[in-house]
């Protein structure tokens, strides 16, 4: 049920009772659906978007373009797995275009990130080359503007 998933994607704190009313379905049905989605991993995980800059925590995010040699039978997947198993890797995508994999790495410091690339990532067999970009500022994450200064400017009562 697309609408249920969309609602949960935006706000997973909505209760089963609220969802049931909003979607005009019995609570049992909504609860069963959610359970099913969780089990079959349609709903992968519930997460919170944190503005770490505001939280005062130092974090460095690196966007790394990786060129690799695909392997017989497994293509890009085997190398991809070797990369995404590292906990430092936050996201990993197979891309079309000038490079093959886009890796997003999170580390405490610039040095840590650089070290991860030079000692872990580029040494993997099949990796031909990497280009590392460091992220300077985060404006929007998962569809949410982090510092949205657009406020409700409506009059409190209007016709």
């Amino acid at each position: 049920m697309r609408e249920l998933l969309e609602l949960l994607e935006k706000d997973h704190t909505l209760t089963v009772a609220q969802l049931a009313v909003m979607l005009d379905k019995p609570q049992e049905e909504i609860a069963a659906l959610i359970k099913q989605y969780e089990t079959d991993k349609t709903i992968v995980k519930y997460q919170t978007i944190v503005n770490w800059e505001k939280a005062g925590a130092d974090r460095v995010t690196a966007i790394i373009e990786v060129r690799i040699t695909p392997q017989r039978e497994v293509g890009f997947d085997a190398i991809a797995e070797r990369i995404y198993r590292f906990p430092e890797v936050r996201s990993l995508y197979l891309m079309s275009g000038a490079y093959d994999l886009l890796v997003i790495v999170e580390a405490k410091t610039l040095k840590d990130a650089a070290q991860f690339v030079s000692t872990k990532l580029s040494t993997i067999e099949g990796v031909i080359g990497t280009t590392t970009h460091f992220m300077l500022k985060q404006y929007k994450e998962a569809g949410v503007i982090l510092e949205d200064e657009e406020e409700d400017r409506r009059l409190v009562v209007s016709p």
């Binding site: 609220q18 909003m22 979607l23 409190v156 009562v157 209007s158 016709p159």
Partner: protein
């Protein structure tokens, strides 16, 4: 000695000030209010529409337009009307772009009414209907609708109030403040009534896109009604463009010509910035609009369920973004309920009598607000109502 106040036109003096305005002044003084009193979307205008206006300004769209509005916009309006309802107009002579539906309504009244002409106005209704009739020299004849009839107007009621002086019928469905809609069959009966008494019908369909039960029936699309109807619509609700002040009227060339004559002397044209944005809204705004409608529908269900739990009698609204529960069980008047609720729980809503006498005993709650706000407001209203029932 005569005062300045004495010199104000008696017609204007006779019109009561908007009940909403009066209540607004009370609410404005209270801090930390959760407001269900807002008669406009809580979405800001979708970015692509705002961006098109910025681009238009950069391109130098800063001048007057034709009195009728940009032809490109009129063509889009007609195209949209054909696609949605199958009724067509000549964009050159039968479409007028106005400063919101409010201006279009005023123009329509002034274009068709002679002093003393009567206009049937079903109530509760939008605050400016009766005032516009009166300002145009007409006489508004109230047709009170009832919760038992789902706030729909019936031919039987209209037959009781129609006279040889009746010139027009002014309807607004989906309705503000009740959220009522009318089915095709019900509107066909109204159309037959209009034909029988040779009445002009002014149909304010600003909430047409916000219909949650079935599809909206456009009055002008009913057989034989196109030329008899002045169809009013705009961008405020469907595209969250209230502050842009942009609407339109569609009708036969004579009515539109007469309205344009007044418009050219009093307004000249609608702001070009808003017209440019409106073109973008019609061309590419469908997707965003449908998302908003889905969201309103979910909130509507939340509100209906909320008031049911609270124990107030409530008709299930099928359109717009208002719910209009009865507060008669509390023994309070609409105004007292609204004022006491504001004082005790800091929730703002609008007393039903602001929409005419037949709105007494009800309050209008707008669900153009976030789910979190609505849930909080319902909790507070529940606490308040428990003291009375």
């Amino acid at each position: 000695m005569t005062t300045w106040a004495d010199r104000v036109s008696p017609t204007v003096k006779a019109i009561p000030p908007s009940g909403i305005r009066r209540f607004f002044d009370i609410v404005a003084e209270t801090k930390g209010v959760v407001s269900l009193g807002v008669g406009e979307p809580d979405f800001v205008t979708p970015w692509h529409i705002r961006e098109s206006c910025v681009y238009g300004l950069q391109q130098g769209y800063t001048a007057y337009t034709s009195n009728y509005g940009l032809l490109e916009l009129r063509e889009e309006i007609v195209k949209n009307c054909v696609a949605s309802y199958g009724v067509t107009y000549d964009p050159r002579k039968e479409a007028l772009v106005t400063v919101g539906v409010s201006e279009a309504l005023d123009l329509a009244m002034r274009a068709i009414l002679s002093p003393g002409d009567e206009v049937l106005v079903p109530e509760p209704c939008y605050v400016s209907y009766k005032a516009c009739v009166a300002l145009a020299g007409g006489v508004p004849v109230t047709v009170p609708t009832k919760m038992a009839d789902c706030f729909r107007v019936t031919v039987a009621q209209l037959e009781e109030l129609v006279t040889p002086r009746t010139k027009a019928l002014l309807i607004g469905y989906p309705n503000n403040p009740t959220g009522a809609i009318m089915s095709k069959a019900e509107l066909e009966a109204i159309a037959a009534f209009a034909l029988k008494h040779d009445l002009i019908v002014i149909s304010d369909e600003i909430y047409a896109s916000l219909t949650y039960d079935g599809t909206h029936t456009c009055f002008a699309a009913l057989p034989g009604m196109r030329d008899r109807t002045i169809l009013l619509n705009g961008f405020s609700k469907a595209y969250a463009m209230t502050g842009w002040r942009i609407g339109y009227a569609l009708s036969n060339a004579d009515f539109i010509g007469a309205m344009t004559k007044i418009h050219q002397y009093t307004m000249l044209c609608a702001p070009i910035t808003a017209q440019v944005a409106a073109i973008e809204a019609l061309r590419h705004g469908q997707c965003n609009m449908l998302r908003m409608v889905e969201e309103y529908n979910r909130r509507r269900r939340l509100m209906v369920d909320g008031f049911k739990t609270i124990g107030l009698d409530c008709f299930e609204p099928k359109g717009a973004f208002y719910i209009f529960p009865s507060i008669k069980q509390t023994g309070l008047s609409s105004l007292a309920f609204a004022e006491e609720l504001l004082k005790a729980e800091k929730v703002a809503l609008v007393p039903g009598d602001a929409f005419g006498e037949s709105g007494e005993g009800f309050v209008r709650c707008s669900y153009a607000s976030s789910t979190a706000n609505l849930t909080e407001a319902l909790t507070r209203i529940n606490r308040f109502v428990k003291k009375y029932i």
